[in-house]
């Protein structure tokens, strides 16, 4: 029995991070959620929290297990429904996917713990939506099919629409309408890009696409590139790169703290998709369509850093400052991606882990500081002192120093790796100057914010004891500390993690092994039956011997 169970577990492991949150969310829906403070501390609420939290912990264990398997170099391919690769949808867990999964679920644990400190009662079905969001994120990271990527994007987006307005209020609905409309238009563009790619290549399977794109003639390749550039716009909107980042500061500042912290990973879904499509499918060896985004990616990434940091300098609330720093961090990650070398990609992946964890921690910290300051909230103006200046001050210092890139924090290591890997590329002068100058400016912006928040305080005693107590709840502070601690672990474990990301980046360049694993030894021949459309006479030549019309 136990052997059977472990066999089941081994076979179906890649799909479990998608199924687990789905079933949890459905169970939570069935349990019902009346919401509001009325049932605060009620038995049903406790049960919901228990189910939700244990499911997230289990998911984190699964994700780490997948990552430890992927670390050995195996490509874990899971054909859904048993359909072979180019015809059915496959899930593929390689090093990059497993890393993103582990990152998502690792952040989810402290964030959910934080949310269970009160946010989940300020509206209905927080836990349900949280798990649907996790389902969409996990699915997007493990899928090996571009259309399936679209579907999981929609799953995570719909969950994020609801989570964004969680807690309600005018500000959230205002930001919500913008966010939803922008993302729906982006979804339409996503479909256009996919349709063009399918029309040219005759497949949407990532492994199959990587094989076929190299065989396209120059004219078809141009069309393929056009489709891929449409996808770059879509992913760029999710990742918030210039000029598509304008929605982010408002949205993230309006979202409740745990939601904003979870959204820190959502920009990384955009980055992940850019890596999959532009660095892998359209990488070297893509024939006429190779490196379609190269001329754009690096300048756009550097501009994103610059504008993100300028926005952070000009921000007049702490939440906006952190949101702008998230934009800048996406730019830093994309700089590594845009250099198009495995070393730079590896550095970018390391920096991505760091920036996601720190951004999530800072979003939680913003709320702690804001509630302890009472009336003034997170506005950057002199106000009442926080109740725990030393604790919150040290946490802010830690996060800020890591974002700015001071040694020995992981942000420093990540930026150093990116700078190092750019040394031999023609763009290194640009990369070095932009990254270093913006680091100084980030430090200035954070120092300004920190001194206003913690030193430039009014003597007036804080008012509103309730809010002060809410902001110093042990659970909230522990959850935030947990996230900060995790980001510190990245520095402690930098050497094994860097080895992992090095291997992940190398694995992404190995198109043959990926195709072999996904499509099987007969991949090339079998793939020919999902033909690209040939000629205008509307004939399909079936491979069956007697099937000729």
């Amino acid at each position: 029995m136990s052997e059977l169970l472990s066999l089941f577990f081994e076979t179906h492991l890649p799909v479990l991070p998608v199924l687990l949150p789905m079933f949890t969310a459905v169970a939570l829906l069935l349990m019902g959620d009346e919401g509001g403070e009325a049932n605060h501390g009620g038995r049903l609420l406790q049960r919901r929290r228990l189910l939700s939290f244990s499911s997230v912990v289990l998911g984190a264990v699964l994700a780490w297990r997948l990552m430890s398997e992927a670390a050995l170099g195996s490509l874990n391919v899971y054909p859904l429904g048993g359909w072979p690769a180019p015809f059915g949808i496959v899930l593929v867990v390689d090093r990059l996917s497993a890393m993103m999964l582990a990152l998502t679920w690792t952040i989810a644990v402290p964030v959910l713990w934080y949310a269970a400190g009160g946010w989940d009662t300020r509206g209905r079905h927080f836990h349900t939506m949280f798990h649907f969001l996790l389902m969409g994120l996990s699915g997007a990271f493990v899928t090996g099919d571009l259309f399936n990527l679209f579907v999981f994007f929609e799953v995570l987006l719909i969950a994020s629409y609801v989570l964004l307005v969680h807690g309600q209020g005018q500000e959230r609905f205002k930001a919500g309408v913008h966010y939803v409309v922008l993302n729906l238009v982006a979804s339409a563009l996503f479909l256009v890009g996919l349709a063009v790619i399918y029309g040219v290549a005759g497949t949407l399977n990532m492994a199959d696409l990587a094989l076929r794109v190299g065989r396209l003639g120059p004219e078809q390749a141009a069309l393929f590139k056009a489709g891929a550039m449409v996808l770059l716009v879509v992913f760029g909107l999710k990742a918030a790169i210039v000029p598509l980042y304008l929605w982010l500061p408002n949205t993230y500042a309006a979202a409740s703290a745990p939601v904003a912290a979870m959204f820190a990973i959502m920009t990384k879904v955009g980055v992940y998709s850019i890596i999959r499509v532009h660095a892998v499918i359209l990488g070297d060896g893509a024939g006429h369509a190779a490196l379609a985004a190269q001329a754009w990616l690096l300048p756009v990434a550097l501009l994103t850093i610059a504008l993100g940091v300028l926005g952070a300098l000009a921000a007049h609330s702490l939440a906006r400052l952190v949101a702008y720093l998230t934009v800048a961090s996406v730019g830093t990650v994309l700089t590594g991606v845009g250099l198009y070398t495995p070393a730079a990609l590896s550095a970018a992946l390391y920096y991505m882990m760091h920036s996601t964890l720190v951004a999530a921690a800072l979003f939680l910290l913003v709320e702690l500081v804001a509630t302890q300051r009472g009336e003034s909230g997170d506005r950057l103006q002199p106000a009442a002192p926080v109740a725990q200046p030393i604790l919150l001050g040290m946490m802010t210092l830690l996060g800020a120093a890591s974002v700015a890139g001071l040694p020995p924090l992981p942000g420093f290591l990540g930026k150093l790796m990116i700078l190092e890997s750019s040394a031999l590329t023609p763009a290194h002068a640009w990369v070095w100057s932009v990254v270093l100058v913006t680091s100084v400016m980030t430090m200035m912006g954070l120092a300004r914010a920190g001194s206003i928040l913690f030193w430039n305080v009014l003597p007036a005693a804080p008012t509103g004891k309730h809010s002060i107590r809410a902001g110093s709840s042990l659970r909230l502070i522990r959850a935030t500390l947990g996230l900060l601690g995790l980001s510190l672990l990245l520095a402690v474990a930098a050497s094994p993690l860097k080895r992992y990301t090095d291997a992940a980046a190398l694995q992404l360049t190995d198109r043959a092994a990926y195709a072999q694993a996904v499509l099987g030894p007969v991949g090339g021949a079998a793939a020919d039956t999902t033909r690209p459309y040939r000629g205008g006479e509307g004939e399909v030549i079936l491979p069956a011997p007697k099937g000729k019309p």
Partner: protein, 121 residues
């Protein structure tokens, strides 16, 4: 006029109408615009399997067969589009209720009812 020309120009016209409506300032035209854009995109996906006449819709061992995959894709896209349209209608109504304005910015043009700190940015 070929069928291809008709379909292509139809998609173009509907897309243009959709984009025009999305750029309006009130939520209801925006929702309509997104629906129109969705229709155009759906037909576009369908057309990417190429236009066929006298062909079976699903694979059989004899005869001409239309490409079945775009049909499956478009079904998925329709379902998702339907769900998101439903959501955005509800969100627009709720936003109208919360802010007393059906403008996408949550306040009438020229009236700043929102929090000043967010408008200044």
């Amino acid at each position: 006029m070929s069928l291809e020309f008709l379909v292509a120009s139809g998609i173009g016209a509907v897309t243009a109408a959709g984009i025009y409506l999305i750029l309006r300032g009130r939520t209801w035209p925006v929702v309509l615009g997104m629906s129109l854009l969705g229709y155009a995109v759906n037909v576009f996906i369908f057309a990417m399997g190429r236009l066929w006449q006298d062909a079976a819709p699903i694979l059989s061992s004899t005869g001409r067969v239309a490409d079945p995959l775009p049909q499956a894709l478009v079904l998925t896209a329709i379902v998702i589009g339907f769900a998101t349209t439903g959501f955005v209608v509800e969100l627009a109504l709720r936003s109208r209720h919360e802010t007393d304005s059906d403008h996408v910015d949550g306040h009438e043009p020229g009236h700043h009812t929102g929090h000043a700190r967010d408008d200044a940015a």
